[in-house]
């Protein structure tokens, strides 16, 4: 290399003031980093000599080229290529320098600091992190609000469900089972309603819970609780007499029932329009129906068990699924069946109709119609069909005695209605079913007895009939009163002999005959027949004699009329004694002694078939001289008796007749 070695001197590394401002602020030149110092040092390496040499060479080349190629156009990229070549050379020098420095091992790169971030970079970093945090906060805020909304909705849904469930729990047993199955946990919490009553029914046949006893509580689409039952799963007890259809009397029943047992379809379509209150009430009614249906099933089971026991009064004539047919005597058959009770009782009545053999339709009011029977006595064919107790009342009675029996077993309460315990069967007495059949038979028979009694009573004007409640399902009791009319009593009280009456026993003005029916035995008890002892003694003391005897239905009217007639005779006898006349009293006649051995007697004639009245009166005279007789008589067959038919007299006329006879005998006698 030629030329002089040029030496450059660095400035002293002293901070040199760059400028100073008016307020004293000093400005220093900006400090350069290590790298910049290196770069500046490298820059200071003077490559001018190399560049000059290169340039000379190039000039020479150019001259050569130019001399050689003057005519060729200069390439437009020529300068760029030369610049790049120069840069390339410089870079290779630098790289060699750096490699030499590195290979020296005395100098290593100590490190490189990150360039200090400019303030705007700092701020932008801060801004980005702050923005991300704000974004997170916003997310969080939205999340909280969303979960608050979701929780509110869920609470509202559950409040409906649990509110309804609590209202149901006030009346029914609600049980819970944790269900660990798959599926959404919220929709299946395992609630169920238990309708089985384990405090009753300790006997084995009825301790078997039916499939309906436990009902699952589910959620419906709106989150409200819903109970789904298979249709026609509820049974109701249906009772009827064979050959007799019930009229459409219980139409109100049907209305109530269809309102109660809400069908599936009505519930689903009307659910949205019903308020929660109404919905809970509908569910209540549904549960009531199911509960009753379970009880009906148990009743029927129990009846079947009783039917197998062959107890007194039970006479099974037919058995099918859910159907039991019994005969209770007197040609009457009844059936008890379980029918599905959904969609009202109309279907139940129809199925019962199809099971009946007889299709004759007879209106089935029982006792009310019979009381109108005064006009209907002459139709004996009606007698058979009247008098059936109402179908519904039999159903209710059956349910009641079964329930009481179950209750009795559980609580050991005293037996109020006289129903026997089911345990006694066979020889001891009728079981429940037997008792029921006997009660029905008794009812039917007692209505026939009542018809007879009414026949008797309505023909005789001075008789009154009264029915007594007996509070026993197999006993009935009536009383027939014979009442002395008030006019006679008043007349007596005004007579001068009334003082005696006050001292003595008052003459009875009312005679009664009691008719008691137990199962199918009629017992008549009445006063007024002459006492045998009193007949012998002929004393005026009245020993109140009471007759008691059994009879059957055919003889009942005659016996009653006889009883009444003897009561009338007795009354007349007492009246005569009151007046002071001695009369003889026989079974159905009262004899007055006239002078000369004559006797006149008032004789009662009893005829139950007599339409105008049961008791008619005859005047019979014995042993008298016909020519002294002043009354007209009819002579029969030359008998020494003379009879006069007086007809059906009421008590006033009888009394006056007797008084006439009294005066007759009085006038003739010495009294």
């Amino acid at each position: 290399m030629e030329g002089n070695l040029e030496i450059s001197l660095d400035k002293l590394p002293v901070k040199r003031l760059d400028a100073i401002e008016e307020n004293g602020l000093e400005r220093y030149p900006p400090e350069s980093s290590y790298d910049e110092k290196r770069v500046s040092l490298i820059r200071r390496i003077d490559f001018a000599w190399a560049v000059e040499e290169d340039e000379e060479k190039e000039r020479k080349k150019k001259q050569k080229k130019n001399s050689s190629k003057d005519a060729s156009a200069t390439w437009q990229w020529q300068s760029m290529v030369e610049n790049l070549q120069l840069a390339h050379q410089e870079l290779s020098v630098i790289i060699d320098l750096i490699n030499t420095l590195e290979a020296n091992d005395a100098v290593t790169v100590a490190g490189m600091t990150r360039p200090k971030p400019l303030p705007n970079e700092l701020m932008s970093d801060l801004a980005v992190s702050a923005a991300t945090k704000l974004q997170c906060y916003r997310h969080l805020g939205k999340y909280f609000k969303q979960s608050a909304n979701a929780l509110e909705q869920q609470i509202a849904r559950e409040a409906r469900f649990y509110g309804a469930l609590i209202r149901l729990q006030q009346n029914w047993k609600v049980k819970r089972q944790r269900v660990a199955g798959p599926g959404p946990a919220s929709s299946n919490e395992g609630f169920s309603i238990d309708l089985f009553d384990n405090s009753l029914y300790s006997s084995t046949p009825m301790s078997r819970p039916s499939s309906l006893s436990s009902i699952r509580v589910e959620h419906d689409s709106a989150g409200m609780l819903s109970i789904n039952l298979p249709p026609n799963s509820c049974h109701s007890l249906h009772f009827g007499f064979l050959g007799v259809h019930s009229a459409d009397i219980p139409k109100e029943f049907n209305k109530i029932r269809t309102h109660g047992s809400v069908g599936q379809h009505t519930r689903n379509t009307e659910k949205e329009s019903m308020s929660d209150d109404e919905y809970v009430k509908e569910t209540h009614l549904l549960l009531r129906d199911v509960h009753q249906s379970i009880f009906n099933d148990q009743v029927f089971d129990m009846l079947n068990c009783e039917a197998f026991n062959q107890s007194v009064g039970v006479n099974v004539t037919g058995m099918r699924e859910n159907y039991l047919q019994l005969s209770i005597g007197q040609g009457t058959s009844l059936f008890i069946s379980l029918v599905p009770s959904s969609e009202g009782d109309n279907q139940a009545v129809d199925t019962a109709n199809t099971q009946n053999v007889d299709s004759a339709i007879v209106p089935l009011d029982s006792f009310d119609e019979v009381k109108f029977g005064e006009r209907k006595h002459d139709t004996p064919t009606m007698k058979k069909k009247w008098g059936f107790p109402h179908r519904i009342s039999c159903e209710i009675y059956l349910q009641q005695i079964v329930h009481e029996h179950a209750f009795l077993k559980a609580k050991d309460k005293p037996n109020l209605s006289g129903t026997p315990v089911s345990g006694q069967s066979g020889k001891d007495g009728p079981g429940l079913l037997g008792h029921f059949c006997l009660s029905l038979a008794h009812r039917i028979f007692s209505s026939r007895v009542l018809i007879e009694l009414e026949n008797v009573v309505c023909r005789v004007p001075y008789l009154h009939l009264m029915t007594h409640p007996t509070w026993h399902s197999r006993k009935s009791s009536w009383t027939i009163f014979m009442k002395v009319p008030q006019s006679i009593l008043h007349a007596e009280s005004q007579s001068p002999r009334s003082d005696f009456q006050n001292i003595k026993d008052v003459i009875k003005s009312q005679f009664h005959t009691k008719v008691v029916l137990s199962d199918d035995r009629i017992n008549v008890e009445g006063e007024g027949a002459p006492n045998v002892v009193g007949l012998f003694k002929r004393s005026s003391e009245d020993i109140c004699s009471v007759n008691k005897y059994d009879c059957d239905l055919a003889d009942l009217p005659v016996i009653l009329l006889q009883q009444v007639a003897s009561q009338v005779i007795r009354w007349l006898h007492e009246e005569a004694l009151m007046v002071g006349i001695k009369t003889n009293r026989y079974f159905l006649s009262l004899a007055f002694d006239l002078e000369q051995g004559e006797s006149v007697s008032l004789v009662a004639h009893v005829d139950p078939e007599d339409i105008q009245g049961g008791i008619s009166w005859w005047l019979v005279m014995e042993d008298g001289f016909a020519e002294d007789w002043k009354l007209q008589m009819e002579i029969y067959d030359g008998t020494p008796e003379y009879r006069k038919f007086l007809g059906h007299l009421n008590l006033d006329v009888l009394y006056s007749t007797m008084m006439d006879l009294v005066t007759l005998s009085d006038g003739g006698g010495n009294h």
Partner: protein, 115 residues
Amino acid sequence: MDSPTQNTSLQRLQNVEKRIIRVLELAGGVMDELANPTGPRKEFINNHCREFMKMIKDIQVTLRDEIKSACEYRPFEKCDYSSRISNEICCKKLEYVLSQLDAMKQTIDEYQATI
């Protein structure tokens, strides 16, 4: 606590649920306020946080009371299903008697109409 207005424990527990919802809403509101680009307002956040803490305290007190007062669970001590059945039977009797009385009244009306 609005204990004089809440009669049953069920209502109190429902109130607790409503308070939980309110607490969540407050938290959401605080977060939103913190995310406010112009910076959170201090009184706003203070109020919310105060209400939050108060509600938490109310919830805690109510729940503690309810848990203490919850009685032992005795399932189905006295089952009234049998008296329910006898009531149903009585209802049926009543319905029947009513129908009979209605029939009697109808008869009377018909009789009086024909007079």
